[in-house]
């Protein structure tokens, strides 16, 4: 178990460092520039240098904050993310705990992110932070519902909450072929769940400066940052399991296939961020309640009907 924990922490850190580098490179190439080039090969060590800088920075605690909650928030956002890695099936024999409620555990723990954002926003005693926190809660609740419903339509087909069973059920055809609408809905909701553009309302910098983490500096800010990228990895991993056949592939070892698919989805999410403008808060919420949730329900009903008929 301890080996697994160390493994997870190592994976989380290396993955976050890689993703931040990747995001910079993706952004740069979309924007006609080369991105970081100086530190290491094509700037590969740039994020390591940045991490060292962040750790070395002074941790400023503003005077008027609600101290215990303010200090707890970055930890609360980061710990649940670690738990999620327990059940992700990287390869047939590379699952730390193949729980029979794996997918439920993931959704349950990823919902905790909202709590931490609320804690950070409220305790900062800053109006911009409170705005960010309130928006974030409304948004995450609104987008969690369609996310769960789309996942449910897959679970209906498999008949199990077990992630390895879901992968096993895709031995003939990936679920993305059978459930394209569900995949689309899932990607949209996942982007919103991770607070990524065009749904980055909680930290919309042109309106709210930096949203809920305005008052955080140094490694405390770093933890929020780390959590965002790790969350991105988790939602992409779940998408891979649910729709893209998990570790399935040819010639290459299963774990490589799994990571290729995950990073492909992450690339897609990054692509969104650097291409779209931001939605307005009310448009975002009504999009979730009036479009995504009904669509997800219809999809679920059709799935159930099809299973009953065939």
């Amino acid at each position: 178990m301890i080996v697994a924990l160390i493994g997870v922490i190592a994976l989380v850190s290396v993955n976050a460092l890689f993703l931040i580098w990747m995001e910079r490179k993706v952004a740069a190439h979309i924007q006609l520039r080369p991105g970081p080039m100086e530190v290491g090969f094509h700037g590969a060590l740039q994020t390591v240098a940045d991490a060292i800088k962040l750790i070395g920075k002074e941790l400023i605690t503003p005077e008027e904050v609600d101290r215990p909650i303010y200090l707890l928030a970055p930890i609360v956002i980061f710990l649940p993310v670690l738990v999620l890695f327990l059940v992700i099936p990287f390869a047939p024999n590379l699952i730390i705990r193949d729980l029979n409620v794996g997918i439920l555990l993931i959704f349950a723990f990823s919902s905790l992110t909202v709590l931490s954002i609320l804690m950070a926003g409220w305790s900062s005693n800053n109006k911009y932070s409170v705005f960010g926190a309130i928006r974030s809660i409304a948004q995450n609740i609104a987008y969690e519902i369609p996310l769960l419903i789309t996942a449910m339509s897959i679970i209906l087909m498999v008949g199990s909450f077990k992630l390895s069973a879901i992968v096993a059920a895709q031995d003939k055809v990936w679920f993305v072929v059978i459930q394209p609408l569900a995949f689309l809905l899932y990607i949209i909701c996942a982007t919103a769940e991770t607070n990524r553009a065009p749904f980055d309302i909680p930290e919309a910098e042109s309106e709210l400066v930096a949203g809920f983490h305005t008052e955080y500096s140094g490694m405390r800010f770093g933890l929020f940052f780390l959590a965002e990228y790790t969350n991105m990895f988790v939602v992409s991993a779940v998408a891979t399991v649910l729709f893209l056949g998990g570790w399935r592939g040819w010639i290459l070892p299963p774990v490589v296939w799994f990571l290729i698919k995950v990073y492909a989805i992450i690339f897609l999410i990054m692509w969104f961020r650097w291409t779209f403008p931001r939605l307005r808060f009310d448009q975002l919420i009504s999009f979730a309640w009036k479009v995504l949730i009904p669509l997800a329900f219809v999809n679920l009903l059709v799935t159930a009907l099809a299973i009953k008929l065939f």
Partner: protein, 371 residues
């Protein structure tokens, strides 16, 4: 926002600025918020006050020229033009035709640079980061072209009383033509990726509507006024320089919302390209400076007002001369100031996100507001 229990407060105050990412300068807007809605607002200006008008009283006419590039640094050449125009009218200086053509060409190039910068920065306000870099890539061309002839990249001081400082050469003309081709090839991309983007349309359609009556009441000018459907452009309605020689349209909007202002600016860039093209074709030979402009200008007693169309609207210079080498008083009528004054009315009862979108759509240059 930590309220005492039992005390009911419906609204609270939010201080937007003076340091805030979307004010693009040191503008402060005091917002009285009702949740996410703005109940009342009040812009507070003056953080970047540099006493430009007072400085004019202490300097000779020539010494005041460099100030003009710093009032509105984004369309500096229009301000050069406006001031030179006023002084030339005051002192009765005739500008040779070639100089007028060069003035028009450089000024229009600068207008394109200004609009491109607005386009990029505005989308940045709406959360789209990438167009910013594309616009700067295009704008870089203009800046390079102008750098060749004016010697600076931002705060130009190129026009002189009676002409311009340096003549343009073949390389400048070739650069301009290459730029025209390049920018024209970009319109399609901008339209496909931004104008037709559904999120962008939702953010800008029917948001921040300025009615023609409101616009006239507040003295709004420039693309903001034309977006409301009033075809008022100084280049056409009170022609100066050689603008009457060229064929160009005044694009106007219909509804007066953000989208209309956006479209007006995009189409204005195309019209500027047309003007430049025609000016390059018709460019006459001859001197670039009027003869016998005295080193120490001493205009006769009198008053003069001259207005030019800057990227943001009507820029007027009002000079009172008492027959001295220094102006007695200069009043700068800057468009951003009038355009800003409408903001409180526009953002009433809108969301914070809309406020950012509306503020950005007015294309304010805050140092110009403060002067």
């Amino acid at each position: 926002m930590m309220l005492e229990p039992g005390i009911e407060e419906k609204t609270f105050y939010l201080n937007l600025g003076p340091q805030h990412p979307s004010t693009h300068g040191v503008l402060r807007i005091l917002l009285e918020m009702d949740g996410e809605f703005i109940a009342n607002s009040e812009p507070v200006i003056g953080y970047g006050h540099r006493a430009h008008e007072k400085m004019a009283e202490l300097r000779t006419y020539q010494q005041y020229l460099p100030n003009m590039g710093r009032v509105d640094y984004l369309h500096a050449l229009a301000y050069n033009h406006g001031y030179c125009l006023a002084v030339e009218r005051l002192a009765g200086i005739e500008v040779p035709e070639r100089a007028e053509f060069i003035r028009v060409i450089t000024s229009e190039l600068n207008r394109i640079a200004s609009h491109l910068l607005w386009f990029g920065a505005y989308l940045l306000d709406l959360g789209a980061f990438t167009p910013f870099l594309y616009c700067f890539d295009d704008r870089e061309n203009v800046v390079d072209i102008l750098d060749r002839v004016t010697g600076s990249r931002l705060t130009y001081c190129y026009f002189r009383f009676g002409g311009v400082r340096d003549d343009i050469d073949d390389e400048f003309i070739a650069g301009c033509r290459a730029f025209i081709t390049r920018l024209r090839s970009r319109w399609q991309d901008y339209d496909d990726l931004v104008t037709k983007n559904v999120i962008f349309i939702n953010r800008t359609r029917d948001v921040g509507i300025i009615t023609p009556e409101q616009a006239l009441k507040y003295g709004v000018t420039g693309p903001c006024l034309r977006g409301s459907g009033i075809p008022y452009d100084i280049r056409r309605s009170e022609p100066y320089s050689v603008y009457p020689l060229f064929d160009f349209e005044i694009p106007i909007g219909e509804r007066g919302d953000i989208m209309d202002r956006y479209v007006v600016r995009l189409r204005e860039m195309e019209q500027s390209l047309r003007i430049i093209e025609q000016a390059l074709d018709k460019l006459p030979n001859g001197p670039i400076m009027a003869e016998k402009v005295p080193k120490r200008l001493k205009p006769a007693e009198g008053e003069v007002y001259a207005a030019v169309e800057s990227g943001r609207g009507e820029f007027g210079t009002y000079i009172v001369s008492k027959g001295d080498t220094k102006p007695y008083r200069i009043k700068l009528r800057v468009p951003s100031f009038s355009n800003l004054s409408i903001i409180s009315e526009l953002i009433k009862d809108t969301l914070v996100a809309d406020m950012v979108a509306i503020l950005g759509s007015l294309d304010l240059v805050i140092p110009e507001v403060d002067r």
